[in-house]
């Protein structure tokens, strides 16, 4: 693996869309869950008695973690140059190619 490939591979990992979604949703999840944990009665009453911030926060946290886990379990490989004839056989998830 030469320098160029290594750089591309690093860029591909950094830039995996699953990491972007996972990252944003984990941050959203943590913030909204915290807010939900301390919601006063006004907020709860407005939402018809549902602790919506808490639940939505936890749900977003779970979604975010799922995406990060997915990426961790089947990491992106560096995209190959266009003329590759498909020898990236081990790409089980079939979802990892990222540019």
């Amino acid at each position: 693996m030469n320098d160029e490939e290594e750089r591309r591979s690093a860029a591909a990992r950094m830039f995996d869309v699953r990491r972007v979604i996972g990252g944003l949703f984990v941050v959203y999840g943590v913030i909204v869950t915290l807010v939900g944990a301390f919601d006063g009665s006004t907020a709860i009453d407005k939402a018809q008695g549902v602790r919506i911030n808490l639940w939505a926060g936890l749900a977003m946290l779970a979604v975010g973690l799922l995406f990060l886990m997915w990426q961790w379990l089947s990491p992106a490989e560096a995209p190959e140059p266009a003329e590759s004839d498909g020898d990236d056989v081990e790409n089980e998830g079939g979802d990892a190619s990222v540019r």
Binding site: A11, V20, P79, G94
Partner: protein
């Protein structure tokens, strides 16, 4: 009732909104590092997996106009609105994936107009490239204007600030990161939009007592029992939508929907960026599944709004149907999820606009500039042109935002645009793809006459010469007439001109071979659950099944 719609956002909601924009711009800058060639910029290097292009495909259509408009229709027409999804989208998406995508992806064209150049001739190509470019800029303007209206109502931001900020953000991430950036952001937007809409639906359902409570309340509202059925009473036009089943099946389900989903490059482009034939075919099929379920978070909130918001359905002011979703946000969401919902709404405006702009810059660069103005420059030159086209498209889009301001119902303006541009295009495609004797000249004259007929129908209706009851009825008829015109023109012209030799049509027309469906498969594509026929068949079956409880 001044400020009636104003949401009470606090610092927390603005923090969530800011985080989103930082992420979006970050994606743009990160994508820049991956751009080496113009194919990287315009088609993401044809490297994306099917789930990414599939979600981008549905997201490109999930603009805020769609969300707000469908919630409004849900409030106004009830369950009949599901026709826009189950018959008005899914069959066309399945058709695109199974039947048409092999021609698009297999011929290695870079855009929809380019297919027309190969199948017919350069005049057909130029005509379509120009009309597509114009339509995209007009629609981008509509998105921008609608964004500004909503931000003005919800947050009290002045119109011009919203227009400039919205345009600047889309401009930045597309001109820097190209299609990859647009697609990644669309996938992200898809999830953020859902994260905003689901809490509205859940709390709304809690408020009205679940689905049973909702249906009971709708029964007792002005909408009545009719608002709970999709097909009942469509033997006449005595139903909320005022549509006969023939009109629903052929007008909406066939001409309008197939025209939009199968030939609109802003959609097809997402599939062309997939990494191989299998992924390209699965793109619209994967998109069909979320599309089947989206009514749950658009139409249902609309119906909740009509039974919980007193006086919804006014002709003007804050209580127009279009405000169904914003009103529910105001009434039901506490700070926190409120910030997510506002972010989702803004995200969806940008999704819509970004789809139009990235379609526009590709067609402008490849199909207009590279083909007719400056040929055979190096690739870097065309990336630069693409970036400049993005800037130009957005600036013109800002201008066209004010054309949109002249229409009372923005959704109808869009439908009118589609009936003028997409219906004749689809008809030309469908004949050209299936009938090898259709000649090059026939391609041009069919497309031109179809567009002229659709445009004339529309202008005559505007001028009062054609007495259609509603804008919607006009777009059904305009589309239908254009379709018939194309068929006639194609047949007549082909009789008097010579067809292209079959050797030139291989891979472009059905029945001549030349398409390799399996040549570029990667491991895993052969898995049974990735079969396009199976995915498409299940999607169609589900859309039928979903109709049963709301027959």
């Amino acid at each position: 009732m001044d400020g009636g719609l104003r949401l009470d956002l606090n610092w927390l909601d603005y923090l969530l909104l800011t985080l989103y924009f930082v992420t979006v711009l970050g994606v743009g800058f990160a994508a820049r590092r991956a751009i080496r060639t113009s194919v990287d910029f315009f088609l993401s290097g044809r490297s994306l997996p099917a789930w990414v292009t599939g979600l981008a495909f549905v997201s490109a259509n999930l603009g805020a106009l769609e969300i707000i408009g469908m919630a409004a229709n849900g409030a106004q027409y009830g369950i009949m609105t599901t026709h826009y999804y189950w018959i008005g989208a899914v069959p066309a998406m399945v058709f695109l994936g199974i039947v048409m995508m092999p021609f698009y992806y297999g011929s290695k064209v870079r855009s929809v107009p380019e297919y027309l150049r190969l199948r017919f001739n350069r005049p057909t190509h130029l005509l379509n490239a120009l009309s597509f470019a114009v339509a995209q800029v007009l629609i981008a303007g509509v998105n921008l204007y609608a964004l500004a209206l909503v931000l003005d109502a919800l947050l009290g931001w002045p119109l011009w600030i919203s227009i400039i900020v919205g345009a600047a953000i889309v401009l930045t991430y597309i001109s820097i990161g190209g299609l990859t950036s647009a697609i990644y952001n669309e996938v992200l937007q898809f999830f953020v939009i859902l994260a905003g809409l689901i809490p509205i639906t859940v709390i709304g359902l809690v408020k009205v007592g679940g689905f049973d409570g909702l249906f009971d309340k709708v029964r007792n509202s002005d909408l009545g029992e009719a608002g709970l059925h999709a097909w009942a009473n469509t033997g006449s036009s005595d139903n909320p939508l005022g549509a006969h089943w023939l009109g629903i099946v052929f007008g909406l389900g066939f001409v309008l929907s197939f025209g939009y989903w199968t030939t609109n490059f802003a959609e097809v482009q997402r599939a062309l960026s997939a990494r191989n034939m299998s992924a390209a075919r699965r793109t619209p099929l994967i998109a069909a599944y979320p599309k089947l379920l989206i009514p749950l978070v658009t139409i249902i909130p609309g119906m909740i709004a009509v039974v919980t918001v007193q006086g919804l359905g006014a002709d003007e002011g804050d209580l127009v149907y279009n405000n169904a979703i914003p009103l529910l946000m105001r009434d039901l969401l506490p700070n926190g999820v409120l910030g997510i919902a506002v972010t989702g709404l803004m995200a969806s405006f940008m999704a819509g606009m970004a789809a139009n702009v990235s379609g526009f810059n590709t067609v402008f660069t490849y199909d207009i500039w590279q083909t007719y103005v400056k040929r055979e420059r190096d690739d870097d030159y065309y990336i630069k042109v693409g970036r400049l086209a993005t800037v130009g498209g957005i600036v013109v889009g800002i201008g066209t935002a004010f054309i949109a301001a002249g229409f009372s119902n923005i959704m109808n303006y869009i439908q009118a645009l589609f009936s003028v541009f997409n219906a004749p295009l689809f008809a030309t495609f469908i004949v050209g793809m299936f009938w090898k004797r259709m000649t090059a000249a026939a391609g041009f004259w069919s497309l031109l006459s179809g567009t002229v007929v659709a445009l004339a129908t529309y202008l005559l209706y505007l001028g009062g010469a054609l007495p259609f009851d509603t804008d919607l009825e006009e777009s059904f008829w305009g589309a239908g007439l254009a379709f018939v015109t194309v068929l006639v023109a194609a047949f007549v012209t082909s009789r008097f001109t010579a067809p292209k030799p079959e050797s030139e049509l291989r891979g472009l027309v059905r029945g001549l071979g030349g398409i390799d469906l399996k040549g570029d498969v990667v491991a895993g594509d052969a898995a049974w659950y990735r079969s396009p026929l199976l995915l498409g068949g299940v999607a169609l079956a589900l859309s039928l099944l979903f109709y049963i409880p709301v027959w």
